[in-house]
């Protein structure tokens, strides 16, 4: 089901007078999940008399600019990117328990609800279950499985299409690199992993630029260096996650072709011929082995914070290649 259809459903819930007081929206935080949250809030705060949300009135504009006084946006803080209990109590619960400034709805939006820790989740439970009238909570997350079950059970879930993709030109570069036939000798493998690592380095530089320019826009120059680095690192993690995903999908495509899956199931349609050739040289158990090697790589660099360069070299070195084995 797509975003608009889901939004219509939620609108229907409000119009029939049966809204939930907590919605758990799953999807990319910087993409559809935020868009959905803004649409819902614009619907609530829109001042237009005809079709809501109009997107043009003062109410809609304030929601979009996040300056609406009755909406509290909560983000992960500090270096650890955690939403702390203090943050929840001071910024969210205190506002929610007062009556609204403009006499209408009040809303609390938690961006990255998976970053709530145990104590902040618990501090929030009772209010989430029985909030004051005309109050709505929107919990946005990319990883709903990491939330406490007691939080999930108090919300209505809205799962949005979560197909993520690395931004161009990065995705193209990764796929292009992987498509080179450089798996045969140790030297070739090393140059393959080095090229992949250089993409990561470029990406990190790009993210720094990105965050700096965003800060200049928002006049946030007074923030300390630590905070700046934490923001860079958080954004870079997102990029790196998508980078790993791109690699994973490449080897997944080969695996799919090896196990007799239809070629329409392949993600990298642009490289279908190369993928088919690779697959025809591999048997299924090797394709599975390769996929698992890449999966381990993603765990190493994303979860365990192991050095990227050596992790990449290790993973690429393990990739089994059919042609070489066949030549023997």
């Amino acid at each position: 089901m797509h975003k608009n259809e889901k939004f219509e459903m939620i609108k229907h819930a409000f119009e029939s007078g049966k809204p939930a007081h907590g919605y758990l929206i799953t999807g990319p935080l910087r993409g559809v999940a935020s868009e959905m949250a803004i649409s819902i809030l614009q619907y609530l705060f829109c001042q237009s008399n005809s079709v809501k949300p109009c997107g043009a009135c003062d109410g809609c504009r304030k929601v979009r600019e996040k300056t609406q006084v009755d909406i509290e946006w909560i983000y992960p803080e500090k270096k650890s990117r955690i939403i702390s209990m203090d943050n929840i109590r001071k910024n969210l619960l205190s506002k929610i328990n007062q009556s609204s400034m403009q006499g209408g709805w009040k809303a609390g939006v938690i961006v990255g609800a998976d970053r709530l820790n145990t104590s902040s989740s618990n501090a929030f439970l009772k209010t989430l279950e029985e909030p004051p009238d005309k109050t709505i909570f929107l919990l946005l997350t990319e990883a709903p499985q990491q939330l406490l079950p007691t939080i999930i059970s108090r919300c209505q879930r809205i799962d949005l299409d979560a197909t993520r993709q690395l931004d161009e030109p990065w995705r193209g570069r990764v796929v292009e690199t992987l498509s080179f036939d450089l798996y045969h000798t140790p030297i070739e493998r090393l140059s393959m992993s080095n090229s992949l690592f250089s993409i990561l380095v470029d990406m990190k530089n790009h993210v720094e630029e990105l965050v700096r320019s965003e800060e200049n826009e928002n006049d946030k120059v007074d923030e300390s260096k630590d905070v700046f680095l934490a923001r860079v690192s958080a954004r870079y993690r997102e990029f790196r996650g998508d980078f790993s995903l791109t690699m994973l999908r490449w080897f997944r495509d080969i695996f799919i072709l090896c196990s007799g899956g239809d070629s329409s199931l392949v993600y990298n349609q642009g490289h279908l011929d190369i993928l088919k050739e690779r697959a025809s040289n591999l048997d299924l158990s090797k394709a599975i082995y390769n996929l698992k090697a890449v999966e381990e790589l993603t765990v190493h660099i994303n979860e365990r914070n192991m050095p990227e360069e050596s992790s990449l070299a290790y993973a690429i070195d393990r990739i089994q290649h059919g042609v070489l084995q066949g030549a023997h």
């Binding site: 501090a123 079950p149 059970s153």
Partner: protein, 471 residues
């Protein structure tokens, strides 16, 4: 008045309304009837099964103007105040937000005063596991010997986080997950009261998805009503919650058992493109294979447990495709996947990989079968190890399919003609080659069979096992 979600509107107000917790409600009722009400209770159990509701009902039962009674009237001032949450004598405290020692000290000071209008001062602390250790300890003395007018009720999802000194001062009640039929019954009652038309299948689907939590079931129902209106069918439930229908699940599991990989991949793609909940799919698949395993062992007796007749006929059909050992291996594989699901970058890829591996399991020849076959060959006199055998074991790396390799070994045995000298050579070379692995497998080898040539066969299989782990 603003709309109240079903879970709040239908919060039970009487002991009788609490579903599936008869062991607790009966005990509490008896305590009231016999005037043996303890001064502190703990309700422990998973989310959405009635802990907070029970605490409130119990408070009403004790403080009702006609009470203490097992049927609080719900009409007197006291009852209404408790329902509304503004009773002076019933303090409902959010343990997670008021978890410091200072707040507990305040509380301790408050309980010294007599109740204003009711008979008891009742302190309900919800999410009590979040109290700090200091806060717990500050409460201990009061909790052991509170004034006669004070009753404590604690509720928590995590009983193991409570101090033993707290638990030993209270009566502990463990609430259960609610059985699916009980949820269905309650849902259908609420639906009839709310004038909602809903099919039995749809109710079953909601209850299945709620995993024993009544609040989950009611939130789901609420969401459905607000999305789809007052007439609901199973398709609506499946569409809104991304659940997979019984038939699709059975087709998918059959494809796994038959080793039909293209079909598996096609179905996963289809589920993914219509936005089915993949995590949920894994859980349902595990349940399916678990049921199949049980059916393997107890057969038609299963009808007494939680499976419908149609499901059982499917299990009977699938039983012919596979033996119990392999079902066990498949459940193992799925269990391993479930553990990794939480951190998976791409849930879909993980599921594809795992199901293909399951399909390979169901198509492979199990160890026991090979051993059996070897044994049979040996008994018939055809068994003979060729001289090159030990080398083949030493270099197993290029073998792609462990089981296939093992089978071809077995075939090699059957093809080789009986030459007595060669057999002796194979036997004499065995201890040299086995030296390293001998200690590891010696026990198993010994216990299975003392015959040295069977030991050799097992070594070959052990070699194959090593590749399997790398797979």
């Amino acid at each position: 008045m603003a709309y109240k979600v079903l879970a709040r509107k239908w919060r039970p107000n009487l002991f009788e309304d609490v579903v599936g917790q008869e062991h607790v409600t009966q005990t509490l009722k008896n305590a009231i009837i016999n005037d043996r009400v303890a001064h502190a209770y703990i309700f422990v159990g998973p989310r959405g099964i009635g802990k907070t509701s029970l605490a409130r009902i119990f408070a009403k039962a004790l403080n009702c103007k006609k009470g203490p009674t097992i049927t609080p009237c719900g009409e007197c001032d006291m009852c209404r105040e408790i329902t509304a949450g503004n009773a002076l004598d019933v303090l409902e405290i959010d343990g997670a937000s008021n978890n410091g020692v200072d707040q507990v000290r305040d509380l301790r000071d408050q309980v010294q005063f007599a109740p204003t209008s009711g008979k008891y001062k009742i302190i309900i602390i919800d999410e009590v596991h979040m109290l700090s250790t200091a806060a717990f300890n500050a409460l201990l003395k009061t909790l052991e010997e509170p004034p006669a007018h004070v009753k404590f009720i604690f509720a928590t999802t995590e009983g193991h986080k409570l101090l033993p000194t707290i638990i030993s001062r209270c009566q502990r009640f463990d609430l259960r997950r609610i059985q699916t039929p009980a949820i269905v019954k309650r849902l259908s009652y609420i639906c009839s009261q709310e004038k909602i038309t809903i099919t039995e299948d749809a109710l079953l689907a909601i209850a299945r998805g709620a995993e024993g939590g009544m609040r989950d079931a009611l939130s789901a129902l609420d969401q459905l009503i607000s999305f789809k209106g007052n007439e609901l069918t199973e398709e609506d439930v499946l569409a809104v919650f991304g659940l997979v229908s019984r038939e699709s699940l059975e087709t998918l599991s059959s494809a796994v058992l038959k080793g039909d990989m293209p079909q598996i991949l096609r179905m996963i793609d289809q589920f993914d493109s219509v936005g089915k909940d993949m995590t949920r799919l894994v859980v349902e698949l595990m349940e399916h294979f678990r049921n199949l395993l049980i059916y393997h062992h107890i057969g038609d007796e299963m009808s007494t447990m939680d499976a419908t007749l149609e499901q059982i006929s499917v299990y009977a059909e699938q039983k012919k495709l596979v033996d119990a050992t392999r079902v066990l291996q498949i459940t193992d594989q799925l269990g391993e996947m479930e553990g990794r699901l939480r951190y998976a970058l791409s849930v879909r890829t993980l599921i594809e990989l795992s199901l293909i591996r399951c399909a390979r399991i169901s198509q492979s020849v199990p160890l026991e079968a090979i051993l059996k076959r070897l044994n049979a060959l040996r008994a018939s006199g055809a068994f003979m190890a060729p001289a090159t055998e030990p080398e083949a074991v030493a270099e197993p790396t290029p073998a792609p399919k462990p089981e296939a390799a093992a089978v071809s070994q077995a075939e090699a045995f059957s093809q080789s003609t009986p030459v007595p000298e060669v057999q002796e050579e194979a036997e004499s070379s065995k201890p040299v080659k086995k030296k390293k692995s001998a200690e590891e497998v010696a026990q198993v080898t010994q216990s299975l069979h003392d015959d040295p040539s069977l030991g050799l066969a097992q070594d070959i299989l052990k070699g194959a096992k090593v590749i399997d782990v790398e797979d």
